[in-house]
Point group: C2
Chain length 327, copies 2
Amino acid sequence: MTVLILTGEEDVTADMVVVHLNASSVPVVRLDPADLTAGVALSGEYVHGSFRGHLSAGGRLVSVNGLRSVWVRRPGVPASRAAQSSAWLTEEASQALYGMLRGCAARWMNHPDAARRARHKPWQLRLAQRSGLPVPATLITTFPQAAREFAERFPDLVVKPVSGAHPQEPPRAVPTSRVAPDTDFGAVAYGPTLLQRRVAKRADIRLTVVGDTLLAARKATPADADPDEVDVRFATSDMPWLPTEVPPRVAAAVRTYLREAELVYGAFDFAEDADGTWWFLECNQSGQFGFIEVETGQPIARTIAEWLARPTPEDRDHVKGRRTVAP
Amino acid sequence: MTVLILTGEEDVTADMVVVHLNASSVPVVRLDPADLTAGVALSGEYVHGSFRGHLSAGGRLVSVNGLRSVWVRRPGVPASRAAQSSAWLTEEASQALYGMLRGCAARWMNHPDAARRARHKPWQLRLAQRSGLPVPATLITTFPQAAREFAERFPDLVVKPVSGAHPQEPPRAVPTSRVAPDTDFGAVAYGPTLLQRRVAKRADIRLTVVGDTLLAARKATPADADPDEVDVRFATSDMPWLPTEVPPRVAAAVRTYLREAELVYGAFDFAEDADGTWWFLECNQSGQFGFIEVETGQPIARTIAEWLARPTPEDRDHVKGRRTVAP
């Protein structure tokens, strides 16, 4: 049973996981959907009530029914590197590849449907609330008056994009910014705006969850930090990321969140306040983990490799007289 | 409790359903996401562990928590009619609107995730097989050799797009076509190709399913029909669509299909062969039904209206001493 990794050619984070898979002799096929019809080929046959499918990449042929797991890392746009690429060919290639893979029994990290849903920030906030995670008061609105009233109730606010996307090309991350006290909010009418109570933080928390494993890292906020430096990704602090314990209540809530979200991988961002409360900011279902692993030494790549390599029920049937995993 | 209909302004099929909803005095809000920030506004507040959201369209304000059901008919691209439309604004507006709606308890026809998954034809074929529906032998491939071998085993083939999309602008439907006996299949290498055994049909079947209600229509194939006229949408036949009974085995399989697909509306296309077997061709989760209703008189619009209007558990709590729906 093979592990399928969907990602681009240059992906050192995927490389980190492949090293562990190779070390445990688990067969791996790595494939970029962008290479479909030029380097990557597929075939699936539906005859007499059953399905037989194959993928070919880099000269290797793998059976779709023989896939143990699929890791959707950073796949390219299907067929985008084909000789005659077009929106139509992309649609055809996407439907063919993912349509075939969706029908197989492999475990997904993460399933495309769950991944897509999980990107909706309003949905994240609601699920975090329901899972028992503290969520800073948040407003998403196109009503200037609603924004003004919210700013009266919560005078210390930050603003961030609803989608996380950047309005300019090439796309890059938009820093979360502090809202000036005299902001007018009239422009809110032209596009949904996300306003959130600023958490006066003493640390940033990155909690990486892989299956049942929780690995938390903490980056303390310097005592003399500029309160306008809201976004850890753009902060000038040279405090290190250090491993930290996950409070049991947070651990339980995070497990609930991921179960409801049908995700097996999630990178949670929290802001820790002066009372030690972890405030939910977001959960990125495809969040990077390389920088955390490098700084903290936490075995994230190995844990992902172990999850992907976990024996299937079929494998276990072949192991006589011995269970390799819990039922 | 309000019914929310997401669709464009000109949608006579939606009009047919609204007539029935109005007749039963169920509140309806109709909204095109394309009008976001220009005519349509939204606001959602996440404070103290709870959510309060509102949508405004055509001067009407509706509470998101007060939605009974959401009918995703033919919604426009979010914010595409805004004064300063852009891919970024579309992404922001889409995440804000659908992110909020995804968090509410309303019933969906159909849920966006289920709808998206259901468009994958390879996935449809596999699910149809598993649900016990007869599926004509099908191959989806980029291997010319696989296509050649398939054509040897099944000499009478049709070809259709994997995605149903058309390579040219403006998009239109691509007719399913018969494959000529001397086809070379070399071009298969440049794009996934769907080949399917042609069913020698004596009728086309359109089975429209709304919740638990199955409404089947049958259009007989004229005895002198040209066998190259494979696609009923493009056929010149003037045979009428007539209501027909659903064989019990098909009914059970179709219910299994929709339950597994998490769809509450589906328009199935079958080809009926000389033995009376219904061969599964596809299930369109947003298939048109107006033409069938007009020709057969089947009450599809009314059935949709009834499903959308069905009381929620909350409504039922307010009905004293009397149950309006089965538990």
